[in-house]
Symmetry: C2
Subunit: 228 residues, 2 copies
Amino acid sequence: MASTQKSLADVTAERIIKYIIDNKLKEGGQLPNETALSSLMGVGRSTLREAIRSLASRNILTVQQGSGIYVSHNTGVADDPLGFTFIENKEKLVADLMEFRMMIEPRSAALAASKATPEQAQELLLLAADVENCYEKGVSHSEADALFHAKIAEISENVILPQLEPLIMHAIDMFIDITHSSLKEETIKTHKAIVNAIQKNDPIAAQDAMTLHLIYNRDRLRNTLAQK
Amino acid sequence: MASTQKSLADVTAERIIKYIIDNKLKEGGQLPNETALSSLMGVGRSTLREAIRSLASRNILTVQQGSGIYVSHNTGVADDPLGFTFIENKEKLVADLMEFRMMIEPRSAALAASKATPEQAQELLLLAADVENCYEKGVSHSEADALFHAKIAEISENVILPQLEPLIMHAIDMFIDITHSSLKEETIKTHKAIVNAIQKNDPIAAQDAMTLHLIYNRDRLRNTLAQK
């Protein structure tokens, strides 16, 4: 544990977590207001606020001023869940993230291909088109790109993979930052090959296409780092 | 971001993070005491305490009563970084964690084999022996087992993999819980094969041995879940 002694606010935070689970509240689900929650937990207003702030900093709750207290998107997954902020060597971090994606994403694409419904494949196709639009308009594609990869994780039906979204996002942002890269033709092409394989429910082709996609990107990263 | 409005405590927490990075403080490094830190950050004692509590809940700082404020082990990686607490179906979670380990660990073992010094291989050998001792004594091997796998992640030199330690720990705990498993001969044997390959700096053999190890375990999990 992080601290040797638990404050009343910590205990209250744990009880709020239990409340969320027991009441099967999901992302976007609303909790009772401060007054009700404070009497429900049997603690004063300031203790409750401290507990809520702690849960907000762990991305468990989102407080919307004047509206209410909600369960956060990607509940319990912080912006920086693996502490990348504290890894000093950013070039090593971006290279190691690429290796990490190489471990995860080809097999994730294969799983997605084995599960995808026609509707899901269509959604993925639209996300690939969004990335291409960014390319044509000359605007940053980092968010669209991250959403494309997050959708594959979602289609895979594995419950861990979508939780890695902030890591993949981080990896894409750092990659763009370091390679100063506008999007390349290869990205568009290999994205299309991935969509195509998932649409056809062909896991091997999906795994190959994702591997190729990452190899292209890793190669560019390697060249960039070698020139420094 | 988790909250729409940043409190003074949040801003102070971010400045403490910046302080840790700028001063290159590592795990176990000590920060100035409360009085000094409070004047350094230009905030009152109660705001500072709130900031410190928030950093402790994110496993960035560890407060030891009477001793001081330290940078936490696995800085910034919470006990439950990916929010597994909020995943309801625990049987699906344990099966998906096994798939996740299958993505990560064979390649992680290969990396470790390509980098391991004789000293590191020796350390790993001792950790495998610890697991075997637990088996012979009939006590829980979950912690020793997690340390064995964490050591491989460390030897790999990839900066992401050691940060996954709480996930692997979680996976091993849940696996033992669900299969009610005492350790099996296969675990001992395949651990030995992994050590052996890493000792010989043979990445392919290490990858094969880790894959075999995980397949054995996944098979047992599959059988257990099928009987339910």
